[in-house]
């Protein structure tokens, strides 16, 4: 299992004209023994890619919901290594691509080379690093590339055209377009600049563009889908899982077409 698993998802969706639905969950929130069931629930709900959050003590890119989920996971002493080990156990029973979203320090603590090898053996297809911009990625990217793991870059409302071009060039998996200036967590609406910015990114990007941060209902997901190749929902799903309402996750996912275009 490698980064081609992500490409396969987008190629398949392209053939039907559908958009990807990517769900973030916090690994270990509710107990690491729940991870397999959580991922399988997401698969059954229609999720195309699972973004697995790694709990960190100082999550500067995250809003209150994900901060709390990280605290719950850390209270159970769950570590990046535990999560990789559990993924190794369950990888044959899940089919969606797994992308890890983690701050850099837990990886640095394991060591880049060892982590990359371990992540590949655990079936991880990609990594998102919210505190590692383009300028700092090289030190880890060489190790991820050696194991065919995609380093998924973030592009934001403050990335100007030159930066979008630079981020797009050599991008792997998909570009993660952050739709707001701020941390993760539900918003009621997006500003006009969000849509025009997505259009600009789409016009430049050579890989699929997925939009995330702040998406809290199916209407918003549909709207963003009109400007991107997929939508990422995090805090809302973390909250539903925590409150035992996993059955409502499917209501967040825009319906897919049944006919091949």
């Amino acid at each position: 299992m490698t980064k081609t698993k992500i490409d396969d998802v987008f190629n398949k969706l392209k053939s039907t004209g559908d958009k990807a639905f990517i769900s973030y969950i916090m690994a270990g929130d509710g107990g690491l023994d729940q991870l397999k069931d959580q991922i399988r629930t997401l698969e059954a709900s229609g999720v195309d890619i699972v973004e697995l959050g790694i709990p960190f003590s100082d999550p500067v890119a995250d809003g209150p919901v994900i901060q709390q989920a990280a605290i719950r996971a850390l209270e159970q002493n769950i570590s990046l290594q535990n999560i990789l080990d559990e993924l190794k156990n369950i990888k044959d029973e899940i089919t969606v691509p797994i992308v890890l979203m983690t701050y850099i320090n837990p990886i640095l603590n394991i060591g880049y080379a060892e982590f990359a090898k371990d992540a590949a053996e655990s079936g991880v297809s990609g990594i998102i690093l919210p505190d590692v911009p383009f300028e700092e990625e090289e030190e880890i990217k060489v190790h991820l590339s050696a194991h065919d793991i995609a380093l998924i870059r973030l592009v934001t409302l403050t990335s100007d055209e030159n930066r979008i071009k630079a981020l797009s060039e050599g991008a792997e998996g998909f570009l993660y377009a952050v739709t707001i200036k701020g941390t993760t967590g539900g918003r009621k609406t997006f500003g006009e600049d969000t849509y025009s910015h997505l259009e600009k990114i789409k016009s430049i990007a050579e890989v699929p563009v997925c939009a995330g941060f702040g998406v809290s209902n199916v209407e918003m997901a549909e709207q963003l889908g009109g400007y991107s190749d997929g939508v990422i929902v995090g805090s809302k799903i973390v909250q539903l899982l925590h409150e035992g309402e996993a059955d409502k996750i499917k209501d967040l996912i825009p319906e897919k077409s049944t006919t091949v275009k």
Binding site: A61, P106, N109, E135, S159
Partner: protein
Amino acid sequence: MVMSYEFPDNKGKYGGFGGKYVPETLMGALNELEAEYNKAIQDEEFLKALDDYLTDYVGRTTPLYYAEHLTGHIGGAKIYLKREDLNHTGAHKINNTVGQGLLAKRMGKTKIIAETGAGQHGVATATICANLGLECIIFMGKEDVRRQELNVFRMELLGAEVVSVDAGRGTLKDAVNATLRHWVANVDDTHYILGSVLGPHPFPQIVRDFQSVIGSETREQIKEKENRLPDTVIACIGGGSNAMGMFYPFIEDTEVELIGVEASGKGLDTDEYAASISKGRIGVLHGAKMHLLQDDNGQIEEAYSVSAGLDYPGIGPEHSHLHESGRVNYVSRTDQDALDAFTLLSKKEGIIPALESAHAVAEAIEVAKGKSTDEIVVICLSGRGDKDVSEVKRLFRGEDND
């Protein structure tokens, strides 16, 4: 012997340390800050304005005081104190906030945010914002808000809004997280006045440069008084801004021994300390790669020291580099060492030092003891101890720390 020292490099690195480990949203602002800063420090008008503020508002030049009575009591090297405690607001912090305040104004930013632990940097930031007419929000952990009630009131009196941060354990590290999150959401019109030689590039450089007035003055003053450079220069280190400002102008003078003093709290053999170099490992937090207190899984640990200004789990990336290169010798002193030095300096010289600075005094006493009377030790007395008096009173009475 002269060596050439040119850090940071063009990527904001100090050897293997530093960098810009921040969310993409902030990269534009950091690049803008770097460009504007580089222009400002070439601009005569900006430098003149800064100099005027430092002279007439902050009260510089601060004295380099020969501590004759302490020297006599110890019976070793001559001890000098660089009196940063005599600055407006009582510590070195204002050297940086004045500089960054003027820089923010130059960049057209109308809002200022800052983190604070004990409140010293928060007060220094609120002070310059009041003076320059900038809106000011200070983020402070809820534990610190409780412990430093008077500084909260001081900041509010100066017109700042103080936001109590509930996340995490409610201390300095959580306040930095909250400030970074606020900056991500308000980056267009807001400048973050970071208070130490920490965070993403260019902050460690900007703060060092604005603080290096300490070392530059000291260098001139000691040459005037003693006609030579000191043998040893000693400063305390939390994030490390007073130390970096003191050391930087001496870095190429390899004959001058530089000693950075971390807080070892209740002792390095306990689990309550703030000594990132002695007890930490290399990691990334708040935008920089540096020595960091962390657990086996790479989760950041809380730091502890009797002095609130030293309890940060990391250390400025340039200090990490200077440790690795061996140019600066990093040691640590306990709460008790600092309290003893606090009392001794008060009694011998009539100068009550900040508990932070008392760590440097404690180390200097030991260093001076081992030297001859014609040798010279300079201590950076980074702040005054008025803020610590009630805490020390509680400790002497054997009451609980909290």
